[in-house]
């Protein structure tokens, strides 16, 4: 039973444009959400997170939006750069902190020059 879903296995975007990665979840007990970026042969690297009490969190070129009623979050990257090409994982956890992360399947983002 997939509790966190990333329905787009891949996404291709022109350099300089906006990249939008989507994630849906089914478990209403999730209260904290994270995005990780993964390069080949490396472990996932934390990118940005958001608590359920917020609907937006911004860090430089990266913004995460949360729509709790729709159980949907998205990651916006503006402007997209070639170094952003990687697999992006959405993850969800519980507000108590220090709990397991439940991951989506990942979306492979390719930024074209």
């Amino acid at each position: 039973d997939q509790q966190v879903k990333q329905n787009s296995p891949s996404l291709s975007v022109q350099e300089g444009r906006i990249s939008i990665l989507n994630c849906d979840y089914t478990n209403s007990m999730f209260d904290y959400f994270l995005w990780y970026k993964k390069y080949p042969a490396e472990g996932p690297t934390f990118l940005i997170s958001i608590s359920s009490i917020k609907d937006k969190n911004e860090d430089g070129r990266f913004t995460v939006f949360l729509n709790k009623s729709a159980k949907h979050l998205s990651l916006h990257i503006v402007p997209s750069q070639p170094g952003d090409s990687a697999v992006y994982f959405c993850a969800a956890t519980y507000i108590q902190g220090a709990q397991k992360l439940v991951f989506g399947q990942g979306t492979r983002l390719t930024i074209n020059p």
């Binding site: 994270l34 042969a41 490396e42 472990g43 220090a98 397991k100 992360l101 399947q105 990942g106």
Partner: protein, 113 residues
């Protein structure tokens, strides 16, 4: 600050053999997690240590998997006997007490033939 390290980076074993994976967390991180990614699918939780105690082992697939964290420092994950379906990339992650963000190691790619 050194990151999470894992050893070995790759392991190829035959079905029925035993393999032991090792993880060294970031110094001072009481939380240690094991995850597995099989065949390009989602990253799945295996178990969670707080210091030397198992906090959550709900993701362990069966009793062929044994995890230990003696002294609350490094951790080992033993698979005995290995089966073909155990192939995948095993990630270790660590975090500070009560923290949401987990820091991942580079993973150990296990191939069972």
């Amino acid at each position: 600050e050194a990151g999470v390290t894992q050893f070995p980076s790759h392991s190829v074993i035959e079905k029925g053999q035993t393999v032991t994976l090792r993880c060294d967390p970031i110094s001072g991180h009481d939380n240690l997690y094991w995850y597995r990614r099989v065949m390009g699918k989602e990253i799945k939780f295996l178990l969670h240590f707080v210091k030397e105690s198992k906090q959550d082992e709900s993701g362990m697939p069966n009793n062929r998997f044994l995890a230990e964290r003696t002294g609350g420092t490094y951790s080992t994950l033993k698979v005995q006997p290995a089966e073909l379906e155990d192939s995948g990339v095993y990630f270790c992650a660590s975090s500070r007490l009560s923290a949401y963000e987990q820091y991942f190691g580079p993973g150990t790619r296990l191939t069972v033939t």
